[in-house]
């Protein structure tokens, strides 16, 4: 069928390879170790192929489509690889490749506890689903792959199903995913129906939708339905409640994929539907996307700061980053409507660049959190500390992820946020006074989110890896802790006692390298992404961005703003090296000494700042956004009312949205089910009467 190798052929072959991995997994059930090695190697290979196909396809600005006659008669599946899907193929493929390599080590941790066969099978199905979502070119195959993705990830969240929280999270996830899917289905229904004027089914292909003109009202309805459907999947606030429940409880390699790339399929959906299928016909579509993006960015990071479970923190931070991506896309929509293709290209590329970046660093961070979990069997940061000595590799790699996600130069997170800021700074060229005044406030919110996320990741890294072991479980330690040998104060140097194996390290190293490369070579990446913006908004920014070669990133114009990550990196490293050499010419001794304890003499590990205390100032300032329950109880020894024996501090921070939106809906649906339940009498005569009445009523109406 495929005569010579094309990007599309490569992508197609990678999907077949994934399906092969599933079949092999089913046969290797008995040999778990072999199963892990074989299946994850094949998966890694196929993901690598898919990302190569994507890189190639986007770079060549290549479009190819094919029709597969399977499924329902007369409704064949259409697949298509264009720059947009190629780009998302890279996002999904690249991270899945890293994570698959990582899984070679990580999943071995389950051996001896439970069978991993179905983990492997659903893992492969999950990736297949994501690839197919991106490649499908009609509403039917899109929705089928969407469901494949949702269902397989449901089973992955359920993997450790003996725990109540996992079952609860998985159920919540399934509910929200399906409410979202219904909205998407309705949206496609509107589009498909209007394409053919509600005659026949030919309108279900994306090609037909692209050609069609939609009346304004219907277009808006379709856009809003699609946006809310995809927003539910992307975890946009207020549809995010499932995300911090489901992502942390899944196995860490799966959480990396869910947070890193599954959310991105929703971004893909939003971009595909709004830019490609419907076309932007109102400026306020962009405003809606922008506002939801801003809310998600700020609230997401604030909620992340309140967490003490490392994986939950990362999940909330995904909400924030989805918000940042949506900010770029929303701005692009506004600029597109006002016919400023160059600015639209800038903001769209900023959003999509952040999509790629977030996949890399969030994948890296979840892999790092997984490594910590693997080594310590502990998820709460309050019980960690000092791991940098025990896991030097993981710590350094996690640090790379933290720097990237905190938008610090010269890593990748900074580039995309910088581009987004540039897009904001160019908004005054819109000739709409009200937007001119309001959009800068959005820039301020984005700055707030970026700065708070730096605070958040100082906390995450500092509490997990730095300082000393904070755990309550001093004796016995939760693991064979070298920290406990010779007391808690005598930790000198690091011995890497808890470091994870090389597969996991290589997976993380590759992701970290990707963060660095995307950070210091943004000009090349943007040059590569040009086909994208040309396809979607009809302009590109490379001519301006790359005007001064690969060294300088200069969007719009070189006088306007410029950034050169390589120079930043080189100069800083040079100065650091120079200072280091100059200061080490003369040998000054380095002593190790106990900490300064203010003369108090009894400094213990429990006196360190914990996550709760680190975030306390921010909790106080932004407290009105959360529902916080704080409880301090002092336990006094008998006969001494002055010096409490110990203090108990209990803090519970909850998402306000749960009580605001979800609880009423949940209560209402339970109430309705109770009422409806009364119809069930259990007697067959009653059921027959129901049917009889229904038939009579219907006959009356259809007379």
């Amino acid at each position: 069928m495929i005569s010579d190798i094309t990007p599309f052929g490569t992508a197609f072959f990678s999907i077949i390879l994934l399906l092969a991995a599933i079949v092999i997994a089913a046969f290797l059930n008995k040999y778990q170790k072999l199963l892990i090695s074989v299946s994850f190697s094949i998966t890694a290979l196929s993901c690598l192929m898919a990302s190569i196909a994507g890189i190639w396809g986007v770079g060549a600005g290549y479009v190819e489509s094919t029709t597969i006659s399977m499924g329902i008669p007369d409704l064949p599946f259409h697949l298509r690889l264009d720059p947009l899907s190629g780009f998302f193929l890279v996002v999904v493929g690249l991270l899945s490749f890293f994570v698959s390599v990582y899984s070679l080590g990580y999943v071995k941790g389950f051996i001896g506890h439970r069978s991993v066969t179905h983990l492997v099978i659903f893992y492969c199905l999950f990736i297949t689903g994501m690839f197919l979502v991106i490649l499908s070119d009609d509403a039917l195959s899109f929705l089928i792959s969407w469901e494949l993705m949702a269902a397989s990830s449901y089973f992955l969240v359920m993997f450790e199903d003996e725990r109540v929280e996992n079952r609860r999270a998985a159920f919540l996830y399934l509910v929200v995913a399906h409410v979202g899917a219904i909205a998407i289905l309705l949206s496609f229904g509107i589009l498909a129906g209007l394409t053919t004027g509600f005659k026949g089914f030919d309108g279900y292909t994306f090609d037909a939708m692209r050609q069609a003109e939609f009346p304004a009202g219907w277009a808006t309805a379709a856009f809003l339905l699609a946006f809310f459907g995809f927003a539910a999947k992307a975890g946009v606030i207020p549809f995010h409640v499932w995300l911090p429940e489901a992502h942390p409880v899944a196995p860490s390699n799966v959480s990396a994929l869910m947070s890193g790339v599954m959310l991105k399929t929703a971004i893909y959906g939003i971009v595909r539907v709004s830019f490609d299928l419907i076309g932007i016909s109102n400026w306020w579509w962009g405003a809606i996307v922008l506002i939801f993006g801003l809310i998600s960015a700020v609230l997401g990071v604030l909620y992340a700061l309140m967490q003490h479970d490392l994986k939950r923190l990362l999940a909330y931070s995904s909400v924030e980053n989805i918000g940042i991506i949506l900010i770029g896309i929303g701005l692009a929509m506004i600029f597109t409507y006002f016919e400023m293709p160059q600015l639209a290209a800038l903001s769209l590329l900023a959003g999509l660049y952040h999509t790629l970046n977030h996949a890399m660093f969030k994948g890296l961070l979840f892999m790092g959190a997984g490594a910590v979990l693997y080594a310590t069997k502990e998820r709460s940061m309050e019980e960690m500390g000092g791991l940098i000595h025990k896991m030097p590799w993981t710590a350094a790699l996690f640090l790379v992820g933290c720097i990237s996600i905190s938008a610090l130069p010269p890593f990748n997170g900074f580039v995309s946020e910088w581009l987004t800021f540039q897009a904001f700074l160019l908004s005054p060229s819109l000739q709409t006074p009200l937007l001119n005044l309001l959009i800068p406030l959005g820039a301020a919110l984005l700055a707030l989110a970026a700065a708070l996320s730096a605070a958040c990741f100082v906390m995450a890294f500092g509490v997990t890896f730095l300082g000393r072991w904070r755990g309550h479980h001093n004796s016995p330690p939760p693991f064979d802790s070298p920290l406990s040998k010779g007391g808690y104060r005598g930790v000198k140097g690091g011995n890497g006692g808890l470091e994870v194996d090389w597969y996991m390290r290589i997976g993380m190293i590759m992701a970290a390298l990707a963060c660095l490369i995307l950070g210091i070579l943004p000009t090349m990446t943007i040059g590569w992404m040009d086909a994208l913006s040309e396809q979607l908004v009809g302009d590109k920014i490379t001519i301006t961005a790359g005007e001064f070669g690969w060294l300088w990133l200069t969007p719009i114009a070189h006088e306007r703003a410029s950034y050169s990550a390589p120079i930043v990196l080189i100069v800083v490293l040079a100065v650091v090296l120079l200072a280091y050499i100059l200061l080490h010419i003369r040998k000054a001794a380095v002593h190790r000494a106990p900490l300064w304890d203010c003369g108090f003499e009894k400094v213990t590990n429990r006196m360190q700042y914990s996550a709760a205390s680190f975030s306390m100032p921010i909790r106080r300032i932004f407290g009105f956004l959360f529902s916080i329950r704080e409880d301090v109880r002092a336990v006094y020894p008998t006969g001494n009312p002055l010096f409490p024996k110990r203090l108990r501090y209990h803090l519970k921070v909850r998402d306000r949205f749960w009580g605001l939106f979800y609880k009423p809906v949940a209560d209402a649906s339970i109430w309705i089910s109770r009422k409806v339940g009364k119809l069930q009498q259990g007697r067959i005569q009653m059921y027959l009467i129901y049917s009889f009445i229904t038939i009579i009523v219907l006959l009356l109406f259809l007379r």
Binding site: P409, F461, A561, S562, V576, A579, A593, W596
Partner: protein
């Protein structure tokens, strides 16, 4: 020859930064002593402090990791890079296109990020407290800073510093309410970012009131010297940044070495004035409670936003 001039200026500027920053701090401390009726230690005391620290041995906390040891070098390196970008003497800097104002904020942010991590690294309550508060202040200062930049970029249509200097000097002096508001906002932000009174007290030795000092409490020897020096340069650079963006008259234009001596003179005068202003603020105000700082930075945000609004409304 013309190729070599910018490089000379660049090197000269970095040298001036390294040398003049301690003098600038010495000037501020001296004025402060005078204004409070104390005898000052002289304008060169910061040099002596740094020189002394460089000769001392390093005492490390027992579980300090490589992050704690690497941070001083990184902070120093980043600060020097910022110094190579901000047009203090001349706009003719080869490195100035490396970063616009937003990247500069990012560079300061990475220094702060690592300083905060170093504070967490040693595992005391003070270090963590300093880090936590520093990050809180930084996250509130950032939106205000961005708004101020927004206002400036509205006027100059650029965020690149050389271009801002060029546009503002070439247009002549215009009374602009937006820029006036932006200056006010910038002063408040600079006070918060450099940790001066009323936000933080650089001279305090009471642990509970420290922010920046709490993070670097465990540093000693050459590490402390680098941190202190970088801190001085940061104050100097914020002054230089404010001068370049808001009062750029006197900064040497492109391709002309003749203006350089005049530029140095202007810089000295402006810095003296900036130092005097800072001393007036520091002497006139008392350190705030930590939870008044949101209001302080909120006013900075308000000023910056009013600047942005008044650009659209009044200009």
């Amino acid at each position: 020859m013309n190729q070599i001039y910018p490089v000379i200026i660049e090197i000269l500027q970095i040298a001036i930064l390294l040398i003049a920053a301690p003098v600038f701090i010495g000037w501020i401390r001296m004025l402060k002593c005078w204004s409070q009726g104390r005898t000052s230690a002289g304008i060169l005391q910061p040099y002596r402090d740094i020189a002394k620290l460089f000769t001392k041995d390093v005492v490390l906390a027992e579980n300090a990791s490589w992050i704690f040891r690497f941070t001083p070098y990184l902070v120093f390196g980043v600060t020097v890079l910022v110094g190579a970008i901000v047009p203090i003497l001349s706009v003719d800097l080869p490195l100035s296109a490396t970063a616009d104002v937003i990247v500069l904020i990012g560079l300061f942010a990475i220094a702060r990020f690592f300083t905060a991590l170093a504070g967490m690294d040693i595992g005391t309550a003070f270090g963590g407290m300093g880090s936590s508060r520093e990050m809180m202040i930084a996250s509130l200062a950032e939106p205000a800073m961005l708004m101020a930049i927004f206002t400036v970029s509205l006027v100059s249509r650029s965020t690149s510093l050389s271009q801002i200097v060029h546009v503002i000097t070439s247009k002549g002096f215009i009374l602009r309410p937006s820029i006036a508001f932006a200056v006010l906002a910038f002063i408040l932000i600079a006070i918060a970012e450099t940790g001066r009174i009323p936000v933080d007290n650089p001279a305090t030795h009471l642990e509970l009131t420290m922010i920046h000092e709490a993070m670097i409490l465990e540093y000693s020897g050459r590490h402390l010297a680098l941190m202190e020096w970088a801190g001085m340069m940061k104050v100097f650079l914020f002054a230089g940044l404010g001068i370049a963006v808001f009062f750029p008259w006197g900064i040497a234009p492109k391709d002309n070495l003749i203006y350089l001596p005049a530029a140095i003179l202007f810089l000295a005068i402006k810095l003296c004035l900036a130092g005097t202003g800072l001393v007036l603020i520091e002497t006139g105000l008392a350190k705030m409670r930590i939870f008044r700082i949101p209001e302080f930075l909120g006013s900075a945000f308000l000023f910056a936003t009013l600047g942005m609004l008044s650009y659209f409304i009044l200009e």
